[in-house]
Amino acid sequence: MASVSLQHIKKVYDNKVEVVHDFNLEIKDKEFVVFVGPSGCGKSTTLRMIAGLEDITGGTLKINDRVVNDVEPKDRDIAMVFQNYALYPHISVYENMAFPLRLRKMDKEEIHRRVCEAADILGITEYLARKPKALSGGQRQRVAIGRAIVRDPAVFLMDEPLSNLDAKLRNQMRAEIILLRKRIDTTFIYVTHDQTEAMTLGDRIVIMKDGYIQQVGTPQEVFDTPKNLFVAGFIGSPQMNFLQAKLVKKGQGEYAVNVQGITVPVEKKHAQVLEQKGIRDMDITLGVRPEHTTVRFDNPENAIESTITVNEMMGSELHLHVVTAAGDNVILRLPTVDLNDATRASLAAGNKLFFNFPGKVMHLFDNESTDSLVFG
């Protein structure tokens, strides 16, 4: 049970390359925090600094209000699950899980009790006598988690634990981690490059890029109110569509966006923010999520004309890749449940299609700073 506090944490390699810059984050007790970002964004390095596997170049790291910058990993009261499981290949599953307890000179009975309990929680009791080599990927990851939970650590670190599993197993293990978290109820810090994992697991998500924190927030917050272009593009699948557009001030507290020949009024609430910032007419990047678009088969007023290039059948919905008259690529999502055969046929590649979207789903980004004009 512990809080973790990172203040101005910095990591520089070989006196040259700075890979984590001024990282500030307060993690509350029993919180599940996910670091997410593309590879090389510094998320794993940050986690490894918390674990004590990398030296901290600058700043202060506290676990439970104790400064641990120079404390050895074994004395930080943390446990960590690695991407490649890091099971000790020469000893049995049971011994793997007992290893940290034996090093702490725990009583034999107690070790046995804890290992059995953890094995029971993870459903690996029948494999206890086996060597790790004889297990499947999913089972190995369970053992790795088991080795971490027997210790009852204050902070639970996970470094891309599901990346080596295939898609189906990954979904299953994801669900199990959610259940596990309910049972052992401690502080979790979880690193992943997969935004779906981040969204489904995290109480809070820390989105990183190039060693900088881009945004910290609940899954809902980062999805609804991305602070910049990167977060907007990174969270959500399929990716948010970006179009070049013009923001026009229509009057006191009234704005509209001109894009691809149509004009969409900005929602009141957002317009007020723009007004406060004193924003006038400017070129912007407009972001619209695929699921927020409406596909129109008729040709209404204020809809963007486009040509279908690819039609991806996903089962419950279609992903339509279209190209607008201005040459921009856009992805649209269309539920399949209400489609009749004729409409389906009209969605073949090469056919024309119209789409539009309401003002409230628009994300407006400054072209230069790439920051959101509304959120942040």
């Binding site: 596997l53 074994k74 960590m80 991407q83 890091a86 000790y88 290893f99 940290p100 090093l103």
Partner: protein
């Protein structure tokens, strides 16, 4: 992978230019098999030839060691099979008061055993440190060793000799002296085992350290059990090397015959003493040295192969 002269195995190909699928005449299957058989026969012949060349000297060596010293000459002769098989030479090695062979054999065995233990500890310490631990000066150490390795080994021979002499470890003290110089710098030969350690995932160490192990415990409880092949390789190499060393051994033990190792003793029989008289004895001694070493080597061949191939690939 197959090295045979290949014939396309597909019998239908798509001809892109004409846009049609056309059939390719399937080559006669019997001729293909025949070709294959001819290639293999050729290879077998070559391999048998190579085997003969490789084994012949050793077979000859064994034959000559069994030649009767009493009725045939002890020197080199122009025929292979002894006219009379006998154990004369072996008997002489073991029983004759003029023969120091057993003594030499014991010396060498003693040196080899000590080296096998101490050198292995040294090599594993250095290679583990350079592979798994990160500390200031690590690169410097590796560069220094690289540079030192480019100096020819015998350059320092006289210095070593006088250093040993100061310690009283030459002539009568040659055996501990030799052990000392074999072992002292052996840490420099860390490349191959470092290469092996490098292949063990780093996350095992990290995981163990988070689990509460000190670096010493990681070394002892995690890495060493996983490094069994390279430990055996290192022991094997350390054990075998002293059997073949002539140069240092002869220099350090110079003039003190009871303190020779087998290489020095036998070399002097054929090159310094009257070799016509000692040749078959040399053969017998050679057989006695080669047989156990070869047996040991062949028994542990697997580890040796792992070591050299790993080492070559990793550099």
């Amino acid at each position: 992978m197959s090295k045979k002269n290949e014939i396309p195995e597909v019998d239908i190909v798509i001809d892109e230019q004409k846009g049609v699928i056309r059939e390719v005449k399937q080559p006669n299957l019997r001729s293909k098999a025949g070709h294959e058989r001819r290639v293999n026969t050729g290879i077998y012949i070559l391999l048998v030839l190579i085997s003969v060349i490789w084994l012949a000297p050793f077979v000859f060596l064994v034959f000559q060691s069994f030649r009767s010293y009493a009725t045939e000459d002890g020197g080199m002769v122009a025929y292979l099979l002894p006219k009379q098989w006998s154990l004369d030479n072996y008997r002489w090695l073991f029983n004759d008061p003029k023969s120091n062979f057993l003594r030499w054999y014991g010396n060498t065995l003693l040196i080899a055993l000590f080296c096998a233990v101490i050198q292995t500890v040294m090599v594993l310490s250095v290679s583990y440190t350079l592979s798994r631990l990160r500390f200031k000066g690590r690169k410097l150490i590796m560069n220094v060793v690289l540079v030192l390795g480019m100096f020819p080994g015998f350059l320092t021979m006289i210095t070593l000799y006088f250093l040993l002499k100061q310690l009283g470890l030459t002539q009568q003290g040659a055996i501990p002296g030799l052990i000392l110089i074999y072992v002292a710098s052996s840490g420099m030969g860390y490349y191959i085992s470092k290469g092996f350690f490098d292949t063990i995932p780093k996350s095992l160490d990290e995981s163990a350290r988070i689990d509460g192990a000190t670096r010493f415990q990681v070394f002892l409880k995690i890495i060493m059990p996983l490094a069994k092949p390279i430990v055996i390789y290192t022991i094997l190499m350390a054990f075998m090397a002293p059997w073949g060393d002539y140069v240092f051994a002869s220099y350090v033990a110079f003039g003190s015959e009871p303190n020779y190792n087998v290489a020095v003793g036998l070399y002097r029989w054929v090159n310094v003493n009257d070799y016509q008289g000692y040749f078959t004895r040399f053969c017998a001694g050679g057989v006695l040295v080669a047989v156990p070493i070869t047996a040991l080597f062949l028994a542990l061949q697997k580890y040796y192969v792992e070591g050299v191939t790993g080492g070559a690939v990793k550099g």
